[in-house]
């Protein structure tokens, strides 16, 4: 599905990621964990095309996309849920969701299951996106990313600043879309228990490099815990 190899990423002149290798197999959930400031979010932004990536390769179903602008990558089927959600604050919930349809290139309708999964999208359809609470914005952001029926969904800290009951719902939603729609998921998190529950693979990142990777069912939780706190 998604195959990143030898990729460097820069913020301005400073290199944040050094030769990243990462793979998201078809239909799997991959978690990328690590301490703050280790380049996890930057890795996602590089995949989305929002930061400079002068060398390396990002392949989506075998197609090289590293030179493509972000809007082309979205059209190729990458759905992005950024840290901080980035809901368009001045637009209504319905408009935010309609924008999610744009990568399809035509006027369509968001799939029904999104409304069932996140009832707040329908209930607050005419409210301004900026007036929703953090948890509601997170649900809208995921719904918006799913509207275009992406092949892969990338989520940046979806549990950050969100109350436990909604975290559960979001975890369930991620599992559900992965199982029923076959959408691959790449998720960046600090909340280790959350990802161990939903992910198939786990990567640990440190100073822009992957220092540990494993199948979740074989992973050494104590070791990951240690890598993330030390």
């Amino acid at each position: 599905m998604l195959h990143v190899s030898g990729m460097d990423a820069y913020y301005g002149e400073s290199r944040v990621i050094n030769g990243l290798d990462l793979e998201v197999p078809d239909g799997k959930i991959v978690a990328l964990v690590g301490r703050n400031g280790m380049g996890k979010s930057t890795a996602l932004k590089s995949i989305m095309g929002l930061v400079k990536t002068p060398c390396g390769s990002i392949k989506m179903n075998g197609e090289e996309i590293i030179k493509k602008p972000a809007y082309d990558r979205a059209r190729l089927g990458i759905g992005y849920v950024p840290q901080g959600r980035d809901i368009f604050p001045q637009m209504t919930v319905a408009e935010n969701l309609e924008l999610g349809l744009l990568p399809l290139g035509k006027k369509g309708k968001a799939p029904e299951y999104i409304y069932e999964m996140f009832p707040i999208i329908e209930r607050f359809a005419s409210r301004k996106g900026g007036d929703l609470s953090g948890g509601q914005q997170q649900q809208l952001a995921i719904g918006r990313a799913l509207a275009a029926q992406p092949k892969i969904l990338i989520l940046d800290e979806p549990t950050e600043g969100i109350q436990p009951s909604i975290i559960k719902e979001i975890g369930r939603a991620i599992r559900q879309i992965n199982e029923t729609k076959g959408i691959s998921v790449l998720i960046v998190e600090q909340y280790l228990d959350f990802v161990l529950e939903i992910a198939d693979y786990i990567y640990v990142m440190e100073k822009g490099e992957i220092i540990y990777k494993s199948l979740v069912k074989d992973c050494n939780e104590g070791e990951i815990q240690r890598l993330m706190t030390e």
Binding site: A74, D86, F88, G100, G130, D131
Partner: protein, 301 residues
């Protein structure tokens, strides 16, 4: 009473012209935050485009349909300014986003170049656009005069405001435009080609200035500095109204337009300018963000 109604009509008329020139700025400055010092020159381009269409008509068409030139001139003025705006954005402005001072200086330079170009092409003497016969004269009611060309401009401004509203808030392109202006990176992640949206948005703002030029051509002679007469008022209207809000620009323009006319009526034209500036200064002291402020949980800038 009659005099008051006359003054009121003039106030509405001037407000509508200020509004037409500031509508384009509301887009380029209000939405895109580009301080385009050459905006006045897009007004000039529109005015000269009107003049060119008039001459073209009188050269090739029989007298009977010549007056219709004005209906061709409006889209022509829009198209000329739109095309020039698109080129300017592509070659210069797009490289200077987020560099406010640089883009201000660069567009000022462009303003000088365009003025000189106009002098080289059309001469230093002002040229005249003859209002078509159906826009000459006016209605007289009880000692008040309502000239047709001013009524026409007011209607034209109404149509333009409505069109901008529909484009911005009701069309698919408008949705993309607002998304790009609110959050560029995220808009790109939604599959929006933000470069294209920037270019077309800037071009639309410029095109609106072109239409403004087409209407000011009816009111006086056209020369290379015609845009300069309106640009200060236009900037004041946008800032007064609150950057980024269409309704704010409408109100801002009305306040500037009415204040100048009423002040001028009871004092002199130079005092009137001072009074308007004073109103703007005092107002912005109290409300630095203008009449309308965008308030939101997630907008903490």
């Amino acid at each position: 009473m009659a005099q008051f109604i006359n003054t009121l009509f003039n106030a509405v008329s001037l407000s509508s012209i200020v509004l037409l020139t500031s509508l384009g700025l509301a887009v380029t400055f209000g939405l895109m935050r580009v301080i385009n010092m050459a905006h006045g020159e897009f007004v000039m381009v529109g005015a000269y485009a009107t003049y060119a269409v008039q001459n073209l008509f009188s050269a090739i068409f029989p007298k009977s349909i010549q007056p219709l030139y004005y209906f061709v001139a409006i889209p022509a003025a829009f198209a000329a300014a739109f095309a020039l705006g698109s080129l300017l954005e592509f070659f210069i402005i797009s490289r200077l986003y987020k560099r406010v001072v640089d883009s201000l200086l660069a567009t000022w330079g462009i303003s000088l170049i365009l003025q000189q170009a106009a002098r080289s092409i059309f001469g230093t003497q002002g040229v005249n656009v003859t209002a078509p016969p159906f826009l000459q004269g006016g209605i007289f009611i009880g000692g008040c005069t309502f000239s047709y060309n001013r009524i026409f401009i007011i209607a034209l401004v109404g149509i333009c405001v409505l069109s901008v509203y529909l484009i911005m808030y009701k069309s698919g392109f408008g949705k993309q435009m607002r998304a790009v202006m609110q959050n560029r990176a995220m808009a790109q992640c939604m599959g929006i080609n933000s470069r294209m949206v920037d270019n077309v948005t800037f071009a639309i703002g410029s095109g609106l200035a072109g239409i403004a030029g087409c209407s000011v051509a009816l009111l006086g002679s056209v020369d290379s500095t015609v845009g300069q007469n309106y640009i200060v008022n236009a900037f004041m209207a946008v800032v007064l109204g609150g950057v980024g809000k269409l309704l704010g620009t409408v109100l801002g323009a009305s306040i500037i337009g009415s204040a100048s006319i009423f002040a001028e009526n009871y004092t002199s034209s130079s005092i009137a300018k001072a009074i308007v500036l004073l109103i703007v200064i005092v107002f912005l002291q109290k409300r630095p963000q203008g009449l309308f402020v965008i308030k939101n949980r997630s907008l903490d800038e």
